[in-house]
Amino acid sequence: MNISVQSKQEVPALSFSVRVKSGVKKNWYKFSRNKLSVVGLIIVLIIVFSAIFAPLIVPYPHHAGKFVDYANAGTAPCAEYWFGTDNFGRDIFSRIIFAFRGALYMAALVLAIAVPIGVFLGLIAGYYQGTFLDTVIMRVTDIFLSVPPLLLALAIAAVLKPNLTNAMIAVTVMWWPWYTRLVYGMATSTRNEYFVKASELIGAGRLHIIFREILPNCLSPIFTKMALDVGWVILIGASLSFVGLGEQPPTPALGQMVSDGTRYMPDLWWMTVFPSLAIAVTILGFNLMGDGIRDMMAKGEYDRE
């Protein structure tokens, strides 16, 4: 079956011969109009790049594991150890770069699992709006949204064995409902649009309507939210690992490093301050980039299209 119904808004009656900038160029223009978005993109690229090539670029790759060098323990930041060393003499800079790996891995996996589930449920509930299926899905969603997410994630992670995988499971369980709610809202309104009704009339199948007509119209908010959510997942991951419910030592994790550092305050302040900064910069980078993506997807105030 090959049905194509125009799913875009009609051109408004009063239109000018606008010099429309071409796709990529226009998107980049909208993204980069706010210079902070570009800063965010650069931060993200640096973090992702250094996480992938961590063993090649950090000065002391073996410090990211079970390594002790009491002779150099608690060295303040210097040329040799940019961010100083911890109580075991391990290079904090190297450990931070390695910690990015777990953080990014977690964000990627959580979103890769939670988003499809959430989106799928939202689409189904939206398509079968007003039916039993809708009620069940949306009520369950409401229940999951009725507790602060970090709290339930903490509880789930706590009853399981503390490690990265279980932290990811805990966060994933808390994450899908947001997408269900987001998609549900859009799906129910799209569902009643003329182009959907039209393809229904021509006899398009349910799957076609859900995935070819409704889903494409929800994509841009979904991607926008995902871009912003990377930062949030990293934040929750750091919170979990801060209380010891994430990656276990000696593998480094950002939250865990901050928490270890607090025990050596104020003498070894660099043990706390640098991992804290790393968390802040990471979340900042992803948020700035996410904002840029939102600007890119949204229609601008005076943007005539």
């Binding site: 009520r139 009725s146 602060p148 970090l150 709290l151 339930l152 801060f242 802040a280």
Partner: protein, 341 residues
Amino acid sequence: MKLSSYVIKRLLYSIFVLLGLSIVIFIIARVVPGDPARLALGPRAPQFAVDALREEMHLDKSLPVQYFYWIKGVATGDLGKSLITKRNVVEDIAEFLPATLELVLVSALFVIVFSIFFGALAARYKDTWVDSFIRVMAYTGVAVPSFVLAVIFLLLFGYIWPIIPVLGRLSAGIQPPPTITGLITIDSLLTGQLDVFFDALKHLILPALALAVGPLFQEARIVRSAMTENMGKDYLAAAVGFGMPDHVITGKYLLKPSLIPAVSVMGLDIASLMSNAFLVEVIFNWPGISRYGMEAMLRKDLNAISAVIIVFGLIFVLVNILVDLIVAYLDPRIRLGGRSS
């Protein structure tokens, strides 16, 4: 729809949500861990003791029956004993909850007052350094999680520049006022102990700020963008055209519609305050229910964990009802549900 029937509907729905939440908690606390009895007694306890506890906890029955017994306990205020304190967890909650409430209330107050203030300021001085400053603060607030902020505060004010107390609710040597509400600030005012009041206030500032800074500037941004958006509306141009004074236009015709989106997301902010309280209370050694819950989680004290989640779920549900009511009050379009002439 009348406001009262709206409230009743909202309440009934909340009860349903809480029941659903109880199932989730039951699964987390009773099903996921495998053998809660063994967990409660520890690996070295003799098998017969474990079996006895299993029977007492109805773990030998089917899951629905177990849930029934458990929810019956919850409904009658019997949440079981805590492993840590060896007391009934209800007693623990009664002891620890007020401290958390006080902390969350004060930080919520910070969020509300300062977000409107900064938001209006940013809108008024749009595209000036004031606006930029608030934008930078919003990004910082997002980027610096409250536990990191708390740790930084601890480093700064605990060691480097100790001008303000960082740990606990009261300084050593200051007697807490008799418990009336459990909130020390209020109790000390009620009993007229001003020195206690100010001491309690000083102890509140850092943890409350650590919690509030993130949501505060986010909210300010929402207020700001709602205000700048509404500034372009015809009704505002009309009000200006009628020559109404600035303070009426900004403080009335612009502020009220602009508060609606800000208040609507306030529920999420409170959620973030309450979640983050778990880490912040630990850091500031704040003797609240979050610290208690955190300890329970780390020691797998299942009864305490479920009790804490239920309490938080309950508070969160109530907060959301309150938020909805405020939004309905602000926005007649919701309250009246369309035309009714």
